[in-house]
Amino acid sequence: MGKKILLEHENVPGIETFDVYRSKGGYASVEKALKTMTPDQVTEEVKTSGVRGRGGAGFPAGMKWSFLDRKSDKPRYLVCNADESEPGTFKDRYLMERIPHLLIEGMITSSYALGAKTSYIYVRGEYMYVIRILERAIEEARAAGFVGKNILGTDYSLELYVQPGAGAYICGEETALLESLEGKRGNPRLKPPFPAIAGLYASPTVVNNVETICAVVPIINNSGNAYSQIGIGKSTGTKLISASGHINKPGVYEIDLGLPVEEFIYSDEYCGGIWKGRKLKAVVAGGSSVPILPANLILKTAKGEPRLMSYESLSDGGFATGTMLGSGGFIVMDETACIVRNLWTFTRFYHHESCGQCSPCREGTGWMEKVLHRIEHGHGHMDDIDLLVDVAKKIEGNTICPLGDAAAWPVASAIRHFRDEFEYHVRFPEKVKNPKHFEIEPMEAALATAR
């Protein structure tokens, strides 16, 4: 087991309070950065660490920071993306609820590096109680001199605010988030310009995920180089994995990137195996948007090598036989899970959450939901399966933001790997009218009849 660096103190009683957090070495990164480092040195450490955006895109965070327009005479902003809404993902909520000061500390150190004088944490509105926890943490930090004017007696000042969302998955997309923070509908912006040049209030802005900003704390404390030694290859550091679905121990786990998927699923330290003594059928490894993989391909790559929990290994084989690490939302399905029905819930989600700006996404997600509803409820046609593939193809790559791709990939991959289940639904409409059909008739037997 690797050393936990974000969740090291997750079980310390009172760790949500400033005093206990401070007694465990909290806010050391702020002291180190403000008193002994220049902002550029902090940015360099983050670059050296190789930490990649933990919200899902996996873009190197230090690189993103270096794009920030530092010559502009406009104010610069750091905005934390705490709009966690990708189905299967709940790690940021856990971090903020358990160790709120880790995020506050990361925000201060990162804001200093970026030269931001005002920073915002945009939290999805449903997490209202988490917002209260963060606001209290900020007040405690302010009382201790870590937020506000002349932090620790230096000439660096920072105001830090929490902004609530109001229920919109799309606001996890960074430009939609900025629109929302400006008090508008969460419609993603056309890029360029990127937020680094014209973000919040048309000013240079960096938007980072909660976990990414938290990772800045150990990076500054122990050096970017030390952080880059953890993990494997270009997947440096640790990653929080939100594990859900048909496993014995759902929850948030901090792993060293590079951990074998098999160990993650079956070890008692993590998921503890498949529940009810059943067999593994499929996994959606990085939040609902990434391609689903059947058991054989999630445990081993097409080349027969053990699949690892890393950006590279999970995407090995491209979309034909691989997937993505994404947000680390690891959704496990046992042998009784109906792939079609699960996919229908995902597609319903994307249809509900499409902002409506781009017609391929607005219309396409609706069509996919309807066609899947029809198949799942025993009214499908064989042609529907290829129709779904066709609609998914027409959405992918044809929208302003990645929500279109996120809606298309689950559909394409489910049909790619589980086409026989879709055909079974069409051929045996009477059997699928019970939503638990595979539980009633074991999967293997059901599919044997289908053939």
Partner: protein, 177 residues
């Protein structure tokens, strides 16, 4: 408070001003989402046209700027809801752990269908999309509270508890903090 002439208390108005002060001058529109949350909580759990117009006047923006936002975000109710808005997550990870059963039992217990309000105006039942509680699924949200690791029995007990408390659910009030 009468719903046709909504007015915040002096205390809430002070809070609104503190919220506006979080943003640069001239950017008071940024306060729209937090102020709409306050308004919904104070004026009966939903945003009537009068409430939205009032918020527009507070922030010196056009009413249409409020309407378009209020209708975009799923947490804002643009029609009246019951005293307790029960929102059951139905997305994949919750479905895998039995959210269908929860909805079915709640429908039976409350005698209404998903999307409806009980005749006494006490409960509205609604299915919603992923609330970030997949590791503790199935779950429902009522006001600011998350009720996790649900079973049909636990969900039914919760209904009894909420009915007994008689309080209006609000996203703004959490017992946890």
């Amino acid at each position: 408070m009468s719903s046709d002439k909504p007015t915040f208390s002096t205390e809430t108005l002070a809070l609104v001003n503190r919220i506006i002060a979080r943003y640069p001058e001239g950017r008071q529109k940024s306060a729209l989402l937090p102020v709409l949350h306050l308004a919904q909580s104070e004026f009966g759990g939903w945003l009537s046209p009068a409430t939205m117009d009032y918020v527009a006047s507070l922030l010196s923006i056009k009413p249409i700027e409020v309407y378009e936002v209020a209708t975009f975000y799923s947490m804002y109710n643009t029609e009246p809801v019951g005293n307790c808005l029960i929102e059951v997550c139905q997305t994949g990870p919750c479905w895998l752990r039995g959210s269908d059963d929860i909805v079915e039992h709640l429908e039976k217990k409350l005698g209404i269908k998903n999307g409806e309000t009980t005749a006494d105006g006490m409960f509205t039942l609604k299915t919603v999309e992923c609330l970030g509680s997949c590791g503790t699924a199935p779950m429902l949200q009522c006001g600011a509270e998350y009720y996790e690791n649900l079973t049909p029995e636990k969900a039914e007990e919760l209904v009894d508890k909420l009915r007994a408390s008689g309080q209006r659910s609000s996203y703004m009030k959490s017992a946890r903090v």
